[in-house]
Subunit: 373 residues, 2 copies
């Protein structure tokens, strides 16, 4: 089904918006109260560019929740179950954030940009409100804001060559989630080895929204020899790679253990953090559901699923498929979602109530096995 | 500019979604992580139906934050600057909610549905997270959730006749924001005299999402003699009426006094509430900006503004236009937005940097004066 998206001030345009329009963006979603490009017309072609080449994505929707001040570290530690004792400036960390019931409410990447200044590069929920509520009630001495910072992702196996072309070879030494400041012309950036794909790549955190157009042009030019094309977070690749989409794959009761993020929960920490007692009980009792892949029978899907599909075990509801599409590399329809723990073993056969009818599906481990080309 | 909207599970479909599609919905926005119908193809025709007849709107995006438990009243009172001592079951209240800086973060309608159970019918921000954060840190004994409740609005001068046709004449006695439970066939509803227009109307809070399609049909049938048509919150009418669109008209520093909501702030309350000390200082110092209307010169706009426009006083930035469109009744382009207090007097002349160039505009009081037909 095709519908237009309304443009109004309640949802914000990215600093790269005009450039994405000039490039022919055709499909938008919204994320963190902003418009997010989803496709330029051919999501399968964009998929192959990501797998084999290099693509550039307007992901300004990854807003930063900046926390600075004398109690910033204490607040950050209280917000996440992850132990951050080894955090240093210049090395990012993936930090799931839970509420006091142990439910994941966001899964940002944390960047300590200065001694007392942190950015949480957030998924799609109002973590700014959450952090401010907690800070105020705890009387933490911090300032919390959304700075003028907008990531542009460069993703794919040739991404490193693109970034090195304009920033220099030093970026080749950056480890995963490492980041550093850089000025391109007069454009202030933070360059990080990160991004929402498993094809390798970088994110350029633009620190001056007025220069979005120029940054886009410079990256486009630098990437020309590598065949860079505009793209967007790719739902097929992210499913193949088992990347979590917060709010899509998670619901109001999803805890980190269910979605394979238990390794980021440090129950042995001596200090308190939000969700600690709930997560302790959840861990003790064991999880009831798990985030898995599905290999779904039937003709290749055109496009992708529009909403959650129900997964059945016989006649009983056993979980859901939160996203589904045809995988060109696996040569099967694939999906991801939460399923009852007893069916989470790869090979379990279930029934999926998809848009085009009821079909059978086989549970798969995540990430999916990708056959050699 | 026309772009398609991506459909995926991260943004939810309303219980009325399929019906709105069958009715020919053509334009969507998103709101509270859901798809919101914005138009069925002719927003001017929808405007006239709202002004002269009756329209039905899928506003399931007005999610409810339900708070129940022994400390529910205490939490509600702590969340809003409004004094709720006179709150009773069955009478709704408009309750702006601020953070500790005095910034408006949501402006819900509060419904006390039972002695210890409240619904906040929210605007577009994650108030569920906010309320849970506050409740947990304050150790309030409450349960907070988003129940299966989805409003359907019936708006326009003939709305009362439509609701009375299926619910009975008792609804004619409901005062503004009054509400009561009702069963239509086996569909559990709360019927309230409310809605985001000044043309009169009701909201039907559907309390069982599985029955959205049937409710739509029943309202459509009941409204047939009155000429009901599908519609949506109408940006032209809301500007004419001076209704606030949180997140569009407000920014990260907008306090209730700036947007004419000072009457809902009870600084004389003896109990504490979030933002009390900040709002006390803001009130004492006086506001720097005000929410006003603009009569904007030039040819009639086709469509509406896509993003905020800058308002200039000479060469100095003096505010913004957060929404603008042609008003068929005023026979002028109109807009709303925040402007420097010194220019907030009706009649002030400013410059607007609109999409189609720079034009002059005259500040107007809100609501706008509507010429007699």
């Amino acid at each position: 089904m095709n519908f237009n998206i309304a443009l109004s001030a309640r949802i914000r345009k990215s600093p790269f918006f005009d450039k994405t329009v000039a490039e022919g963006v055709s499909l938008f979603s919204t994320y963190n109260h902003m418009y997010m490009p989803v496709s330029y017309g051919d999501r399968i072609a964009e998929y192959w560019h990501l797998i084999n080449g290099v693509t550039m994505w307007d992901v300004a929707v990854e807003r930063q929740v900046a926390i600075e001040g004398p109690d910033a570290e204490q607040l950050i530690q209280y917000l996440t179950p992850r132990d951050l004792k080894k955090l240093v400036v210049g090395k990012g960390k993936y930090v799931p954030i839970c509420d006091c019931r142990g439910t994941i409410i966001n899964d940002p990447v944390l960047l300590q940009v200065n001694q007392d200044e942190y950015w949480l590069s957030i998924a799609d929920s109002d973590l700014l409100l959450w952090a401010r509520a907690i800070a105020a009630e705890k009387n933490f001495k911090v300032n919390i804001c959304e700075p003028d910072v907008s990531p542009l992702a460069v993703q794919g196996p040739k991404a490193e060559a693109v970034i090195a072309a304009f920033a220099g070879d030093w970026i080749r030494e950056l480890g995963y989630f490492d980041f550093a400041s850089f000025e391109l012309e007069d454009i202030p950036l933070v360059i990080a080895r990160s991004g929402w794909s498993k094809q390798g790549g970088f994110e350029l955190y633009l620190c001056d929204g007025s220069k979005g157009g120029r940054l886009w042009e410079l990256v486009r030019e630098a990437g020309q020899p590598m065949g860079i094309v505009p793209g967007a977070p790719n739902h097929i690749e992210r499913m193949e790679s088992g990347l979590l989409s917060m709010g899509s794959d998670t619901d109001d009761w999803t805890n980190p253990y269910e979605v394979n993020l238990g390794k980021f929960v440090s129950l042995s920490r001596e200090d308190d953090f939000i969700g600690k007692s709930a997560l302790t009980i959840i861990k003790k009792n064991g999880i009831k559901r798990r985030f898995v892949g599905y290999l779904i029978a039937g003709d290749p899907y055109q496009g992708s699923s529009e909403h959650r599909w129900t997964v059945l075990d016989g006649k009983d509801k056993a979980g859901f498929v939160s996203a589904a599409a045809w995988s060109p590399r696996i040569q099967s329809n694939i999906g991801v979602g939460l399923i009852d723990q007893k069916l989470a073993t790869p090979g379990s056969v279930v029934t999926v109530e998809g848009t085009s009818g009821t079909t059978s599906a086989t549970v798969s481990a995540l990430p999916f096995d990708i056959p050699a080309p």
